[in-house]
């Protein structure tokens, strides 16, 4: 009896079944989320810190930005040195929030999603990897990567 209750409890937390999507379908246009997730404008300086920080986005694990002060940047994902010239803020937002919406097989984790996940560690269950504000700050940092002359 106790086991059954425990098993049910485990399933609730591990299967992620009760979690619904953080982003409504009608916020998505093509491969873009035009509307910012928070009202305040993003802070590119904080965004850069989150981009590098091991305990935050740690985007440099897989991506590189030319001139950025971070050793051993990864090359698993695309180079983002000039990503602001290539993608709009809305496109950047969707790619960070949940790129799997438009590219289901992508390696890119969904940083603002809690639904349809599997075997999530108890301590991280029910929470997205980054907060809405974190994502806006990173979008603000990346949308400014338009020119090699830009101060990274």
């Amino acid at each position: 009896m106790i086991w059954r209750a425990l098993a049910a409890g485990l399933c609730l937390s591990a299967c992620g079944a009760p979690n619904s999507a953080l982003i409504d379908q009608d916020m998505i246009t093509g491969d873009s989320i035009e509307q910012p997730l928070v009202n305040a404008p993003g802070d590119p300086v904080r965004g850069q810190r989150l981009f590098v920080d091991r305990d935050a986005g740690h985007c440099v694990l897989c991506h590189q930005v030319m001139g950025l002060d971070a050793e051993f940047q990864g090359n698993i994902g695309p180079d983002l040195s000039l990503v602001g010239a290539r993608l709009s803020p809305g496109q950047l937002r969707l790619r960070i929030v949940d790129y799997q919406i438009v590219r289901p097989g992508t390696l890119m984790p969904s940083y603002y999603r809690i639904h349809d996940l599997h075997q999530v560690e108890e301590t991280h269950s029910g929470a997205p990897i980054l907060s809405a504000r974190d994502i806006e700050d990173i979008v603000a940092y990346l949308e400014r990567r338009k020119d090699v002359e830009d101060d990274a």
Binding site: L61, C62, F72, Q73, L107, Q119, E121, H124, S125
Partner: protein, 259 residues
Amino acid sequence: MNRIVGCVSLATIAACSAPPQERAHDRLSPDEIVSGSVFLTAETRALQADDFANPGFLWVDRGEALFSEAPQTGPACVSCHADGLAGVAATYPAYDSDTDTVLNIEGRINQCRAKHQGASSLDYESDELLSLTAYIANQSRGAPVSVDTSGSARAVYEEGARYFRTRRGQFNLSCQQCHTENWGKRLRGDTLSQGHGNGFPAYRLEWQSMGSLHRRLRDCDMGVRAEPLPYGDPLYIAVELYLAARADGLEVESPAVRR
């Protein structure tokens, strides 16, 4: 493969900046299979190759002593296995008809203890079990990994393959996405390996200790923020069998040294 080998031969992995092509296929082809030791620095490879300096041999030596030591309840391992167990570990995990399960070396040791020695099970990651496992695995060093996935082992193999290919954790990544589709690329200071188990039990610099393959699998699961399975879990043994079949022909390296 070509690019990786090119880099390694020059011992300049870090300087090799262009990523290998993305691989869409879901399995490694036999000609691209390489051991995790290929992705190590020259210093770490040299440490592994030197039996006197390789810290894993502390466990191998301890295992050799334990192998000859009779527990109070029964005979020593060596009294049945006087000729040693050369080549055996290269065929594990293997199906065991007595228990109708697939056993890894750790499981086989504990089964032997119960059946022939009247002794209690050794805990996973205990110094004793790691030592005995390392001693037995080391007797297959250089032998090609070759496991049987037919018959009763088939369903277990399939289960392991499914675990390997299933996305999990808050990062929602599968083993497959990193270790089959993107091996050789740079993850900050590290290079993604192909995820083979041929070096385990292995001495990991990060652990400053010897550890089992299940400890490594738990680290990987926690790395994608997935709830790790318990040590010795049948599902991890299934993954172990899948990994061994996937590494078919690769030489056993235990005790390997890994990052």
